[in-house]
């Protein structure tokens, strides 16, 4: 390895910021094409209904209308596919009813797509949509996942009891025996509240068709444009993949909601060929509340059995997961593979069993949202562990310490093998940073003011860097989960990197350039990063699951290694030395032990002007691709400590301290990594205190359909955070030693907040979100 230039590990300011700070970002809605037309979607006002009549004749004659599309147009094409097959315990495959591009005779949630109008302007399209005549025959809506199974109606005929699958993992009999023999069993039942992702840029698309080349171009707010293209072409529309270019330009946040293939852009691509002009659609915010995939929405009962000393003996979990009205792209994997496999947490619990019933309801589809299954798992583990500690009268940190996994690699009872970690170290450091020692004095000061103060822990683990494709495939994944990268060295020694990862706030243009600059020993200014365009990037699985650096970055490193290897052979030829005598250091190829050397740019120039070149051994040029398929997941872990002060008279909870100590392995850009944790913490605190996607149980109407009703965390809802990245245990199976940091904050924080509130009030449970009314009720009940 060449000597480091020192970019890695340095808080380099972001290269993308200049355009974002001056209004020069190019988001999808900023792109207007010649001949632009606009789409508007007519959506269902009912949660569950048969469409008995759909008449578009009057609307078609409205001013500016160019075309109206309904489910009839898509009868012959495929449904939106689900990328992960889950088999039930009895061996039957999950129920997989068609997810139509536009509603096909039935609507299954408020906001379901009934028709698409294309017109010269958005206003004309919207006005025309109001002239579409639809008769609905209402059906009873299924809303609450807890009562969906055997409910009064079937969301899909293919799943008459509304169950998509009943899945399980672990040792059921062994866990039940462990609980039967336990000195103490702690039980909790709770709901992991439904969240609505709310990236600040709503979804948008701009689809066009070129009849001369029979080519399609789709600009779309996507976290994974190649996957979008593959799914739309191969599974839905039957468009040859090479005839479709998908571009995800600047994307204003994703948090999972922009992973999925949606019906809107699919309908637009189909229509673009008919209309013969580009079609643009930008989702309105209140439309996004209905039309984006939501997150979480689990109902769980958990039991933890311990011996007399607090050693964990068995963990028994039963969860009902709400999938919503249709199987979204990765929906089936979230409450199973991404959830139950994390239930060991940081602990050496010998027996674990988890059973999951996944149900269809007449609500928006539920899929991956920041953390995707792992926040739900962490909430289960960290709530039950803290509750057990209170019941056993053991300090919560001490109970965790007694049960931490301390030797690695460690194979959990739920299918994962942790490669490395030091849970004691991150917890000890978090305790110091949070000044837990000073808590008693702070509590006394709060009590003197008539306020309650509590402190809660959460020692989370997550599995990131998804994923070893062979493992994922064995578990039902229908896609590979590698990443691709290309390093194109230009004759002058400047470098363009193409990555299949996609940046929608993560700062890849900076972080990836830091890695390459250090590896090649050249300035960051000599490197540019290209992403988000299937017309430029060879392939990519995209960005989600905190995988960009550990998987995508590793693909780039592997390609850089190939560049260096080829460069050494060229240098050996030029320097008249053996290949094996060439070393690459600080951007120079050197003959070991001599002062003979060539700068990187001299070798690259020779590669493209190959007058004096080893043509017998090498091809000209200096351009390499690499695909990287990880051998294991990565396992970021850490301890979060939340301290709250509650006014029992109002139920208002103020987070006084939020401390996070994370082990992400090696860190490339600490500033960016800490920023990722900050954002995750805000979303996790939002889940714990503020956010809740609520459907009316009788009508299936979304009650939290705007920023007037859905409580987004605002600046004055949150404290400043104490965030420290531990020196850490580098990942053992990727060359950068990195683990991933994008989701940790959202995974680790909700149980820490609720544990702190429960501690303050002296109660066993408070439901999320712990709004002032909820907390006030709990305080009142505790005082009685």
């Amino acid at each position: 390895m060449n000597a480091r230039q020192g970019f890695i590990g340095t808080s380099v300011e972001r290269r993308e910021d200049s355009r974002f700070l001056t209004g020069k970002g190019q988001y999808t809605d900023d792109i207007t094409l010649p001949g632009q037309t606009y789409a508007y979607f007519l959506r269902s006002p009912y949660a569950h209904a048969r469409i008995t009549r759909l008449d578009t004749a009057a609307a078609a004659k409205a001013p500016g209308v160019l075309g109206i599309f309904t489910g009839e147009h898509f009868k012959a094409v495929g449904g939106l596919p689900c990328g992960w097959l889950i088999n039930s315990l009895d061996g039957a495959p999950m129920k997989e009813p068609k997810h139509p591009v536009l509603a096909d005779g039935k609507v299954r949630c408020v906001g379901d797509r009934v028709a698409m109008v294309v017109a010269e302007t958005v206003d004309q399209a919207r006005a025309a949509a109001e002239r579409i005549e639809v008769d609905y025959d209402e059906l009873p809506p299924i809303v609450d996942p807890a009562t969906a199974i055997g409910g009064p109606a079937a969301v899909h005929d293919e799943a008459p009891d509304n169950r998509c699958y009943q899945w399980g993992i672990g040792d059921k009999a062994g866990t039940e025996a462990a609980l039967a023999g336990a000195a103490h069993v702690t039980t909790l039942s709770f709901r992991n509240n439904r969240l609505i992702p709310n990236a600040m840029e709503t979804r948008a698309a701009n689809a066009s068709y070129d009849p001369h080349g029979d080519n399609y171009t789709l600009y779309v707010t996507s976290q994974n444009p190649h996957v979008e293209r593959l799914l739309m072409c191969a599974f839905v529309l039957g468009i040859p993949e090479h005839k479709m270019r998908v571009v995800a330009p600047d994307v204003g946040g994703g948090f999972g909601s922009k992973i999925f293939l949606y019906g809107e852009e699919t309908a637009m691509v189909f229509a673009a060929k008919q209309i013969k002009r580009p079609i643009k659609w930008t989702c309105e915010r209140s439309e996004a509340f209905l039309a984006d995939a939501h997150g979480r929405d689990h109902v769980t009962t958990v039991k933890l059995g311990t011996d007399a000393q607090g050693k964990f003996l068995g963990l028994h979990v039963e969860t009902t997961a709400n999938l919503g009205a249709y199987l979204s792209t990765f929906a089936s994997s979230v409450p199973t593979i991404l959830y139950a496999t994390l239930l060991a947490g940081q602990y050496a619990t010998p027996k674990i069993w988890c059973q999951v019933d996944a149900v269809f309801t007449n609500t928006a589809p539920v899929d991956a949202y920041r953390g995707a299954g792992r926040p739900e798992a962490t909430y289960v583990v960290e709530r039950i562990v803290e509750t057990a500690a209170r019941e056993l009268g053991i300090d919560p940190a001490e109970l965790r310490r007694r049960n931490f996994i301390t030797s690695f690699p460690y194979a959990t009872p739920v299918g994962l093998t942790y490669d490395t970690g030091d849970y004691e170290a991150t917890m000890a450091r978090a305790i110091t940073l949070a000044d837990v020692a000073g808590f008693a004095a702070r509590k006394a000061a709060s009590e003197a003011k008539g306020l309650k103060r509590g402190l809660g822990y959460s020692a989370y683990i997550e599995a990131c860097g998804i994923a070893p494709s062979s493992v994922a495939g064995a578990l039902g994944a229908r896609a590979g989960l590698f990443e691709a990268g290309e390093v194109r060295v230009h004759p002058t020694g400047k470098v363009t990197i193409f990555t299949g990862a996609h940046s929608h706030g993560q700062g890849h243009e900076t972080t990836f350039a830091q890695v390459v600059a250090d590896k090649l020993g050249i300035p960051m200014d000599d490197i540019s990063i290209e992403h988000g365009d299937t017309g430029k990037v060879l392939f990519g699985m995209g960005t989600y699951g905190s995988r960009s650096l550990s998987v995508g970055g590793t693909a780039i490193v592997k390609a850089v290694d190939k560049i260096i290897a080829k460069g050494k052979k060229i240098a050996a030829h030029l320097l008249e030395a053996a290949d094996t005598d060439i070393v690459f250091e600080n951007g120079e190829f050197k003959v070991a032990g001599t002062d003979k050397k060539l700068p990187f740019a001299a070798v690259s120039l020779t590669a493209y002007v190959p007058h004096n070149f080893p043509h017998d051994k090498l091809e000209p040029g200096l351009n390499e691709n690499a695909f990287y398929d990880p051998s294991n997941f990565t396992y970021p872990a850490g301890t979060y400590i939340c301290e709250v002060e509650i006014d029992p008279a109002t139920g208002h909870t103020r987070i006084d301290r939020m401390t996070a100590c994370d082990d992400f392995g090696n860190v490339i850009n600490p500033m960016i990594v800490e920023g990722q944790v900050h954002g995750g913490l805000a979303q996790g605190i939002g889940q714990a205190l503020l956010e809740h996607g609520i459907y009316d149980t009788e009508t299936g109407q979304l009650l939290t359909g705007s920023y007037m009703d859905y409580a987004m965390p605002r600046a004055d809802d949150l404290p400043s955070f104490t965030v420290e990245t531990a020196k850490g245990t580098p990942c053992t199976h990727n060359p950068l030693g990195v683990k991933g940091c994008g989701e940790a904050g959202a995974i680790g924080s909700p149980p820490a907040v609720i544990n702190a509130i429960c501690h303050a009030l002296g109660v066993k449970d408070v439901p999320m979100p712990a709004t002032p009314y909820t907390v006030w009720k709990a305080a009142q009940a505790a005082a009685r």
Partner: protein, 157 residues
């Protein structure tokens, strides 16, 4: 029926037609093609569309274009110096990593500049309360607050 309006945008006088029901933000984005001003909601809650109207931070989704007839408007594109030197608030956002996806950023920066220009302050709590009308989903506001405080100091320097 369009109405003719004349206003100053980023120092330049412009005259254009605007429909009576066109929002100022739509006029800025679609008619003037200044796409740095963003639309993040439809209830005037998120603040992504914040611009300066006659020197005060204003959500441009809450105003009709025709109401801005005669106004002096600054958008994010007009904040940096003519030579490209970033405004101290823009520079502070970069230095403090006060932005991630960049979508709320223009509105956030315009609000922050107004905050410094028209309100004393700027301890952490004041900054947090003043930014209540600008929603960010990426940063958790931690670094935005730092950036506003640093930018405020630089603007006064």
């Amino acid at each position: 029926m369009g109405m003719q309006i004349t206003l100053t945008v980023n120092g330049e006088s412009i005259t254009r037609e605007a429909e009576p029901n066109t929002l100022l933000v739509t006029f800025i984005r679609e008619t003037l093609r200044l796409t740095g001003t963003h639309v993040g909601c439809d209830t005037s809650q998120c603040g992504a569309c914040t611009v300066h109207v006659n020197g005060r931070a204003t959500k441009s989704c809450g105003l009709l274009a025709v109401q801005a007839d005669g106004a002096d408007i600054t958008t994010i594109e007009g904040l940096a110096a003519a030579d490209g030197t970033l405004h101290p608030m823009q520079a502070a956002f970069r230095a403090c990593h006060g932005l991630q996806c960049g979508f709320c950023t223009p509105g956030m920066v315009m609000s922050a500049v107004d905050l410094v220009q028209h309100h004393g302050c700027h301890n952490e709590q004041q900054v947090r309360e003043a930014l209540e009308g600008n929603i960010c989903r990426c940063t958790g506001y931690h670094n935005i607050v730092k950036a506003v405080q640093q930018g405020a100091a630089a603007m006064k320097a």
